[in-house]
Amino acid sequence: MDEPPGVAEADMSGGTPLGGSDDGSPSFPSDPGLSEVETDRRIRVGPAAIRVARDPVVTILLLAGIFDGLSGNPVHAVLLIGVAVALAADAVVRFGGDGAEASLGGPFVKAGKLRTAVLLAIAAIYAVLIGRLPRYSWPMTVAVIVPGTVVLALAWLGRIGRRPETTKLDPGGVLAWLAVFVGLALWELTNLLLQPSFTTDSYAHPTLSVLSDPFLASPVGRAIGLFLWLALGWLLVDR
């Protein structure tokens, strides 16, 4: 069985189990009053906590959750902050990260032409049926949360994705993509802040959701939107 990364880091930190680490993680002084298990736990929690602080995913989800909560969307905030807290707890308590997935099975969802066609048909039926529900209603909310939670759980368990071989990506290319998405997010945030309030739309400074309102006002528009959302989910699951 593979060892969690926190253990490996601690063990590689020096000749003794209480030494410092190369990545700047704090070292813990030897305390003869601590049991071996307690000492080992202190060694592993420190680097794990630093790993959480360095994880941009946790930070992004927390910030997005806070802003969404301030915008009057408690369900969204609960999702984002809940996932951020779960990831942080996983890293600290379970010393998780990639090492925790070593014992998990292979991808649960595998793409195939027939399976893809069946799933697309189901998605189309789902979109047409759910698209008839009023936007921002509780039934619509449940209809989005249920498939979302299932995929989120599969993602947590490592049961989605192709897991391609590690390839070195060009930093410049990655930076270019980051610039587009971060820029778009900042522009969206700018327009949100230029609204009269977080909960009042602005024609002069529309956010993407305000721009989508006319399209998603009709059942046909909602059905198309839901189908595109599900298709995007399938593309991500198949990564």
Partner: protein, 66 residues
């Protein structure tokens, strides 16, 4: 140009920038990764995978749900 029009133009510019990057990424000699490749790389870790999927769930909530 009105504020509304300016806002739309900037959104369109980001969309075009993304489209341009994706087209360039599909060139055989390009060093730019496609969006799919970049996302696939991000999703190799639990944190990245769960973060990306949480973003997708949030999109559904944002546009359709309460």
């Amino acid at each position: 140009m009105s504020s509304h029009a300016l806002t739309l133009v900037v959104y369109l510019m980001f969309g075009l920038a993304g489209l341009t990057l994706e087209i360039r990424a599909r060139s055989p000699r390009s060093r730019i990764p496609s969006l799919g490749t970049a996302v696939g790389r991000v999703m190799r870790t639990r944190s990245g995978r769960v973060g990306v999927i949480a973003g997708w769930v949030w999109l559904g909530l944002h546009f359709f749900a309460r």
